[in-house]
Amino acid sequence: MSAAKRVQQWATFARTWHIFDCKWQDPYQSAEVIKKYLLGMHKPIYHPMNDCGDVVVCINSREIALRGNDWRQRAYFHHTGYPGGATWTLAWEVHNKDPTMIIKKAVYKAMRGNLQRRHTMQRLFIYPGEEIPEDIVQNVTNQIRQLRLVPTRLDHIDEEEVKKFPKVMDYPTDYVLK
């Protein structure tokens, strides 16, 4: 194809590297969004036979938040293949052993169980904290927005904002708070 057409093709089919902060997010809810970007379903040029999936880098996977009693009750199954090799491990045990496992399993589960799944999972990078290798951070061009609100801690709010906030009532000066 001509030079201009080649540039246009390269621009349209370029693979974008996205970054997603998993802090205080539900892994199963975020997995639905991450899977969309990994498969390329957020693009108008999507087709299952067209290799249009993007790369997603997940950070802070140690800070994910499971719902309700899931940390204590949700169990992950693993079988080594040998007789008597079935294990059911609880979520908190899995998380302590490897903080990236829970979100990896969530994204794996969100995808369709076809032969492309393992290949698409290779495009997902998960890091437990904020440290990302240099060569990966340099590639990242877009950030995926979080789904759940990350509330600000009360002690992280500025003094001035706290003073400006309208009060309904205030304690008298000689009142002693226990």
């Binding site: 609100l149 509330p151 600000t152 992280h156 709010i157 500025d158």
Partner: protein, 176 residues
């Protein structure tokens, strides 16, 4: 606190949308501080009217025809299926325009664009029958097998022109 700030910002943007509601129609417009963004709705409409009069670029439109929506520009072919009265050689205007756009701006209808504003003309080129489609039914182990051959009437249209004929808000009222 950051959340409260974010919420206030969003509300402020709703109350005073920068550049008017129609500014999101200008595809060249960058979302944040841009000194060339016009301030009022009238400026946006005036710019669009000037671009309409210049007629510099190719237009395309999304047209609703026979229950389906088609993206249409000058010189392209359309095949519609089913019974449709117009005959070969007839010139037709496609009136249900949902969206019309040029390289620089788009007019989005809710759901249709103003009736006299956009004219899409087409000519019927051919009316024939499609290839034979076989509808085969079988229920296994029940001795039930049916085959149905069907050919649909197909009309081929050539779109002659997609024009934004009048200025915005100045299209004649009684077009139909």
């Amino acid at each position: 606190m950051a959340m409260i700030r974010a919420g206030l910002q969003r509300l402020a943007s709703v109350f005073s949308s920068q550049g008017g509601i129609l500014s999101r129609l200008i595809t060249q417009n960058a979302p944040s501080q841009n000194t060339t963004v016009p301030n009022t709705t009238k400026d946006v409409i005036a710019t669009c009217n000037k671009l309409i009069e210049e007629r510099s670029s190719r237009n395309f439109a999304i047209v609703h025809l026979l229950g389906k929506q088609w993206r249409v520009t000058d010189g392209d072919l359309l095949v519609v299926e089913g019974y449709w009265p117009p005959n070969i050689g007839d010139k037709i205007t496609l009136d249900k325009v949902l969206l019309a756009a040029t390289k620089d701006f788009s007019l989005i209808g809710r759901p249709l664009v103003q009736p006299g504003l956009v004219t899409v003309t087409a000519t019927i080129i051919s009316k024939g029958l499609s290839h034979t489609r076989t509808h085969f039914k079988k229920k296994r182990r029940k001795q039930y097998m049916r085959i149905n051959f069907q050919r649909a009437q197909q009309t081929i249209l050539r779109i002659n022109s997609v024009e934004i004929a009048n200025r915005i808000n100045e299209a004649p009222n009684n077009v139909f």
